[in-house]
Amino acid sequence: MNEMREQIRSYIVDNFLFGDDNGLDDSASFLESGMIDSTGILEVIGFLEENFSIKVKDDELIPENLDSIGNILGFLDRKLATA
């Protein structure tokens, strides 16, 4: 889990915060904080699908699954458990 967290975190920091994590909180909303915009969310989905061999379904595109590092970890946990 920790390794997964670090992998996601460094992807977000490298791609959206230009390497400066600035105390990024696992519970911070990507959209509300302005960290990631709507096209960025699709990039995040692409990253998750490629790196964790999952397929994000259309009805799973909800903030509860994807809008923070914590939400992504919970989502991956549920997805990988049923894979």
């Binding site: 959209l31 302005g34 915009d37 096209t39 960025g40 699709l42 692409g46 259309d58 009805d59």
Partner: protein, 519 residues
């Protein structure tokens, strides 16, 4: 007749709806529901506050707010105080924001938490901002030359009456910056008359009433979002604000739950609704959805046809065309004729005249291609502090759209391309829009941009940036399928696959950024 009773100012639209239906819901955002009487009260308090802070007619008030309750109160409050509302993208970076603040010299800036950090990082003393109003301020401003005030304290109490002002309908109401593809953004000046005329015209052809409920996913700081707001407030209807279109499933679910009657988007909104949302599976639940409307640039025929298949049978599709310079809208396709005129941008909306002119300003007969030039009470008086651009865009014939097109025998207009984006490939004139449409029609591409790169042999060579529908798609698959509809010289020499196309904040494809991908 006094200005107040003639209803010819933008905020009169709100005041009239409040008078007729004070308890109707004007806005929903998350768990927040605001009635017309509450919205008008908030706007009156902001107007009083601005007036007391010295705002006089013509003073600019910058709104750095995403779509939210505070935006509505600030926008109508600013207009009631005679101010000029300058809505800007709250996600602007410090350099871009500094340039815009220098250009408009606002007396007041109203900002949401999203932009507070950016404002804090600027040395505000150089902009002579008299008042900074912050929604839920969170930073320490003690060292700053400007002491911010709290938005909530202003709207929490105060006199529920607008300042007594006699404003003229020709007075400047708003400056909207367009995301130009090259150079600095241009500030489109719009008067009360421009916006009220266009609002009334749109309300009439969309047949909007006080029972309409619009799902708004487009930002109010651009003209299409602004038009959604003004038309629904004028009709006494409801706007549902949802700023999470990044998660389309959430938007679709709320459309069902709130019994939404109207949805509006730009081409990319519909591309993602079709390909990355559960729209198909919930179509039977969208019983109230009366219409969908599309503007903000050309949408491919394939996407329109797909949309018509996926939307419920009772849902009309309005394809529309406009420009910020026209306060939003110029033409629309009557929904009953959408199949017959699927490639058209439609007929002029009420009060607008559109002509096809040649380079000498002579009107061309139907079937001949020239520049689309529009006139009417909605056309801007000019660009902010930019007489050169103004004289290029406006002539005695009206507003020159920069779009090339023609009119058919039924009076329907068709756009064939931009005046400035025609490519020349090995001696052939090539219109990128035609190729983009063909690539999307292969059903292997969600959206794409076709560009011309300098080439020593051909003059320009065609390349494309494309978002594939599935990962396994190859360049060969696409070229093979599109070769059925495109001659060889119109096939891209290279297709670059990408997860999402670079876009500007209005959702339009950023062609400059696409070009950079080939460097």
């Amino acid at each position: 007749m006094s200005a107040q009773t003639s209803n010819n100012l933008i905020h009169h639209l709100l005041e009239e709806s409040e008078r007729l239906r004070p308890d109707n819901c004007a806005m929903v955002h998350g768990d927040t529901r605001v009635s017309y009487s509450e919205l008008n009260r908030d706007a009156n308090r902001i107007a009083r506050f601005l007036h007391d802070r010295g705002v006089t007619p013509g003073d600019r008030v910058v709104l750095l707010l995403e779509n939210c309750r505070e935006y509505l109160a600030s926008y109508y409050g600013c207009l009631k105080a005679g101010g000029v509302a300058v809505p800007l993208n709250p996600e602007l970076k410090p350099d871009g924001l500094a340039w815009l603040l220098s250009s408009v010299e606002p007396r007041v800036v109203i900002s949401s938490p999203k932009c507070e950090r950016t404002l804090h990082a600027l040395s505000l003393s150089r902009f002579s901002i008299g008042t900074l109003l912050l929604v839920r301020p969170g930073l320490n401003w003690r060292e700053s030359p400007v002491s911010p005030l709290s938005f909530d304290e202003i709207t929490f109490s105060g006199v529920n009456l607008p300042p007594p002002l006699a404003l003229d309908e020709m007075s400047l109401a708003s400056i909207i910056f367009t995301s130009g593809s090259t150079g600095r953004p241009k500030g489109v000046m719009l008067s009360h008359r421009n916006i009220v005329a266009n609002t009334r015209s749109i309300v009439s052809y969309l047949e909007l009433t006080s029972t309409d409920i619009q799902m708004v996913v487009l930002p109010f700081f651009y003209v299409m979002g602004k038009s959604l707001l003004n038309t629904h407030i004028a009709a006494g209807g409801t706007v549902i604000i949802n700023n999470s279109f990044a998660y389309p499933a959430t938007v679709v679910k709320q459309m069902v739950d709130e019994k939404v009657t109207g949805f509006s988007g730009v081409p990319s909104t519909y591309a993602y609704l079709l390909h990355r949302s559960p729209l198909r599976s919930v179509r039977d639940k969208l019983v109230s959805l009366r219409y969908c409307s599309q503007a903000g640039g050309h949408m491919s025929r394939h996407t329109k046809e797909e949309l018509l298949k996926v939307l419920p049978e009772h849902t009309k599709l309005y394809v529309m065309y406009g420009a910020t310079e026209a306060a939003a809208r110029l033409t629309y396709v009557e929904p009953d004729r959408i199949h017959e005129k699927i490639e058209s941008i439609g007929i002029p909306i009420p009060d607008v005249t559109m002509k096809v002119l040649d380079e000498n300003g002579i009107e061309l007969p139907s079937g001949q291609t020239g520049e689309l030039v529009a006139s009417g009470p909605n056309i801007m008086p000019g660009y902010w502090n930019d007489p050169d651009s103004t004289s290029k865009a406006l002539s005695r014939n009206g507003y020159h759209t920069g779009d090339l097109g023609y009119q058919d025998k039924d009076g329907y207009f068709f756009v064939v391309g931009r005046k400035d984006s025609q490519l020349k490939v090995a001696g052939h004139r090539v219109n990128p829009q035609e190729i983009e449409d063909a690539l999307i029609a292969t059903e292997l591409v969600i959206e794409c941009a076709v560009l011309g790169l300098d080439d020593p042999l051909a003059g320009q060579r065609l390349v494309a940036v494309a978002v594939p529908t599935v990962e396994a798609v190859t360049e060969r698959d696409i070229l093979q399928r599109s070769s059925h509809s495109l001659p060889r010289h119109k096939l891209p020499t290279e297709i670059l696959f990408i997860k999402t196309l670079p876009k500007n904040s209005s959702g339009k494809i950023d062609r400059g950024a696409c070009r950079e991908l080939f460097r």
